[in-house]
């Protein structure tokens, strides 16, 4: 039995795509929140100067990469945890009795989830152009997609790891409130983390989203706390770690 079964990965990806296209309400739902944030915060705080944000940078410019990051963490965690849906609806068993290696199943889920997340991230990016966000050419957009992919993969792995330790969807709200929102606030998505107390800042630097958002900000608007290359390297490291952790826990979890 080969470990990497490309056909199986493809069909898992295809399933993710088909259900994504058919679940229009879910897509709208995940896009609404970042857009509300962008609309109300971005426009409401226009002209606001926060310590840590250069004077010549509009708050909306600053916020857009953060909102893309927010979209990434929410959609990706959701994909990672959709294992729980599959478990609830029995489909996980159907996947688990097939002779496809668990690694391929995890890769299939990650490629599918990353694709849908990036589509949504890019959608936010383009919608924010309508709100007045300025981009500087195609290359920054392509580079930001690289950061989107890495952020998404890392959080799908993380979501998978959490889902493997849970029995059903009941804890999902808890995870939303106690994991996803703190990760969002401690990522610099909304405000610079440089102003935070040292202890909190230390936690922020353990958060993969911090590097995703900072990197995207670096490539899109040219402002970042860390060198873009460093963010890229650290994020890649997180990515590998999370995928390994997610795959390992998923492999060990029982599917019934």
């Amino acid at each position: 039995m080969k470990m990497i079964n490309t056909k199986a990965i493809y069909i898992l990806w295809l399933r993710e795509m088909k259900t994504f296209i058919r679940a229009k309400s879910r897509v709208v739902g995940t896009l609404v929140m970042p857009l509300l944030f962008l609309g109300f915060l971005g426009i409401g705080f226009t002209g606001l100067s926060l310590p840590g944000i250069p004077k010549d940078i509009n708050y909306l410019q600053y916020l857009v990469p953060g909102m893309i990051g927010m979209t990434m963490i929410f959609t990706s965690m959701f994909t990672g945890m959709s294992v729980l849906w599959d478990r609830q609806f029995g489909f996980l068993k159907e996947i688990m009795v097939t002779p496809v290696s668990r690694v391929s199943i995890v890769i299939g889920r990650i490629t599918g989830g990353t694709t849908t997340s990036v589509i949504q991230g890019v959608a936010i990016l383009f919608i924010s152009l309508l709100l007045g966000f300025k981009i500087f050419g195609v290359l920054p957009v392509l580079l930001s997609v690289v950061f989107m992919i890495l952020t998404s993969v890392a959080f799908i792995g993380f979501g998978l790891a959490i889902a493997s330790k849970m029995k059903d969807m009941q804890g999902f709200g808890l995870i939303m409130n106690f994991v996803m929102f703190p990760l969002l606030f401690l990522s610099g998505a909304l405000f610079p983390i440089d102003n935070l107390p040292l202890a909190v800042k230390a936690i922020a630097y353990l958060n993969p989203l911090t590097y995703g958002v900072d990197g995207m900000r670096g490539v899109l608007i040219g402002v970042s706390s860390l060198p873009v290359v460093l963010s890229l390297a650290i994020l890649t490291g997180f990515c590998a770690l999370m995928v390994f952790l997610g795959a390992y826990l998923f492999e060990k979890s029982e599917s019934v």
Partner: protein
């Protein structure tokens, strides 16, 4: 070679023994049944045999492969229809089957042909491109059976195939299961419906509290209770000659007289009722009514466990509640 070989298999969940040292074999091409109340350990057994759960101890082999060591080989040889629906509602019937056949590495031509074949078998061809969420319960079940067969498994597991279906749909499902024998597949099904086990299975293992309490053909199991009972209501209450003559037949195993009724214990009563009538007529004995009662698997279950399956389920439901409150395993 056996389709399934189980030796001393045990599974415990946090101190609760779900499967308790069971052993049985299923022959190639056999339709084998595990009959027992909910919570008897049937599904756990299926989950172990289909590699979804690891046994606590014991040995099991499916299609000649060890369920612990050759998991992929086992997975390649089996099809499973789970107790609870395991379909993606957001996909169409055909897409569900396509997903499955690609996971089993089937080529495109092979896939299309098999999908057409199995959809025809379960009579869903005209619904193939409808989203599964629009399917009825019976249609979902049929689709799952079709899916279980698509990759031509050597062994097919059916976990409560007709659970929650109405009588008519259940009949239809039974007919499909019978048709499957033509696909040369060994089938192991679990059920808590007596009639289902009786109608479908060549051999039945009666499972209770994780143990196999009896294993034989449905006929032998019922025969072990001592044959059918024919009750005659006679017009003339005291025709001893008639009774004596009946006693002479080797197929009559006992006669009981009570409340004006004559209870005959008879082997294969269907065949001998005409003879009883002929004897009565010859002797001029008038029969007012006749009642034939055949022992069912329910009687067998009662005999081996001391409870009917319904009482048993009520009791186990209570235990489950207790366990749930203590926060144990489902």
């Amino acid at each position: 070679m056996f389709a399934i070989k189980v030796e001393d298999l045990t599974k415990t969940f946090n101190g609760t023994t779900a499967v308790d040292h069971i052993s049985f074999n299923v022959n190639n091409g056999e339709l084998f049944g595990l009959l027992g109340p909910n919570g008897a350990g049937k599904t756990t057994t299926i989950n172990i045999l289909s590699t979804l759960l690891k046994p606590t101890s014991g040995y099991a082999e499916v299609a000649g492969f060890n369920v612990l060591k050759d998991r992929d080989a086992v997975r390649n040889s089996i099809g499973v229809v789970f107790q609870d629906t395991a379909l993606d509602n957001r996909l169409t019937g055909r897409e569900n089957l396509e997903f499955h056949s690609v996971m089993y590495g089937m080529s495109k031509e092979e896939r299309n042909e098999r999908i057409r074949e199995v959809m025809e078998l379960v009579e869903l061809s005209d619904k193939a491109d409808v989203l599964v969420e629009k399917y009825s319960g019976g249609m979902k079940r049929r689709l799952e059976i079709a899916r279980g067969l698509i990759h031509k498994p050597k062994v097919l597991f059916l976990d409560e195939p007709s659970l929650g279906l109405d009588a008519q749909t259940r009949r239809a499902i039974w007919e499909y299961i019978r048709k499957l024998n033509k696909e040369e597949v060994s089938i192991i099904l679990t059920t808590h419906y007596m009639e289902e086990a009786d109608y479908l299975c060549e051999r039945v293992a009666i499972v209770d509290h994780g143990k196999i309490v009896a294993l034989d053909t449905p006929q032998n199991l019922k025969d072990s209770l001592g044959g059918d009972v024919v009750s005659l209501e006679l017009q003339e209450q005291n025709d001893d000659g008639f009774e004596a003559e009946l006693k002479g037949f080797e197929w009559i195993e006992g006669i009981d007289r009570h409340d004006g009724m004559l209870d005959l214990k008879v082997k294969n009563a269907d065949k001998h009722i005409p003879e009883i009538f002929l004897t009565a007529e010859r002797r001029g004995v008038a029969i007012n009514s006749i009642h034939l009662r055949k022992p069912s698997l329910e009687d067998v279950f009662l005999r081996y466990t001391g409870k009917t399956i319904r009482e048993q389920e009520a009791g186990q439901a209570d235990r489950h509640r207790g366990r749930a409150i203590r926060g144990g395993h489902r």
